[in-house]
Symmetry: C2
Subunit: 201 residues, 2 copies
Amino acid sequence: MIVEDDQEIRNSFSLIVNSSQKFTVVNAYGNCEEAIAALHRDKPEIVLMDVELPGMNGIQGTKVIKDKSPHTDIIMVTVYEDSELVFEALKAGASGYITKSANYMELLSALEEIVKGGAPMSSRIARMVIDNFHVNPNSPLTKRETEILQLISEGKTYTQISEELFISKETAKTHIKNIYSKLQVNSKSEAIAKANLEKLI
Amino acid sequence: MIVEDDQEIRNSFSLIVNSSQKFTVVNAYGNCEEAIAALHRDKPEIVLMDVELPGMNGIQGTKVIKDKSPHTDIIMVTVYEDSELVFEALKAGASGYITKSANYMELLSALEEIVKGGAPMSSRIARMVIDNFHVNPNSPLTKRETEILQLISEGKTYTQISEELFISKETAKTHIKNIYSKLQVNSKSEAIAKANLEKLI
DNA sequence: TAAATTATCACGCATATAGGGGTATTACGT
DNA sequence: ACGTAATACCCCTATATGCGTGATAATTTA
């Protein structure tokens, strides 16, 4: 299924997909609302989803489609490679992310990749996604502080932390105070938020 | 640079890389310690790193190399596609992840992919990584509760949450109590931990 | 090698915030 | 009409946080 508001692009994608031996377009829509309404009829295995759409956008649409039809794989197709949008789309349930500049080959190989259980992405998206995992090697925290921050992020209390590390509760407290001071926060939850933001753990 | 303890594989990789027009092996080592010691001499642009190694393992080694030489890209090469190992390697700073079964073409195209700023991965790894972003569509929480959990994860206090949502502090508290009961936790940090684990936000 | 810094450890008191248990009203969608 | 979600309040206790003080071990730097 194709969801794309630009008629030219929509037709071009349809032609490319239908020209392949393996894939067939069941239907193409100009907005998510129509696509969602037709979901139970069309039963698409793969959806090529535009991000910018009139009405419901492609990210919200992805959520709804994944909710109604969890086994349908969704590939986002967009002009932008803005990192926030990418991550939002992935959180929403997209399994691939390619750009509109994708040519014949790239589009079809993305479909191939999906059916064989992969996750097609452009080079830049792949790097963006991988970079998102990298832990900051320039953390201001000491090893011990990082260790304690890790335990905080696991939901441990002062007492649990002190027991786990065989130190007194007061010592745990001192470490946590130092962590707060370095991260300029003043609660566990804030510390966790900052730790995730700056990839300290 | 190649770091791989099995001499046969090491030689085979060296041959493949050197056979290409674009790439040259500066050195190949059987363990991380030697590789790290030679880092400033060899100045590799790319390291092909085995995971299982005698002495320091490939993940620790990746951390050290990225720390000493941040611009060196590291591609993990392994027989296993165990999800925990993959994520640990990515956190440590790896920019690619391929399997030892990779043939001539796959190995060289991984190198190509790295130099053009991408992140080469096998299909399964790519899917694993993407799936890691997907938010659980079967959350037991209501929309409002999810919204509040989101604010908790941003480090907000009861008061801040109530102000942000234009509700009373007591209402925020009630929602949070309900969240705790549904997630079977009893603190903000634990709630955040569970939320991340079960991808509720 | 000596000096300095950093990491680790420890205690006490006052206050703020969070958590546990209960109860209740209103609004909305099926 | 009913269940669920969202709103709100009360009382009490537990935990965490802020601020101060100080000491020893380990590591780095001069």
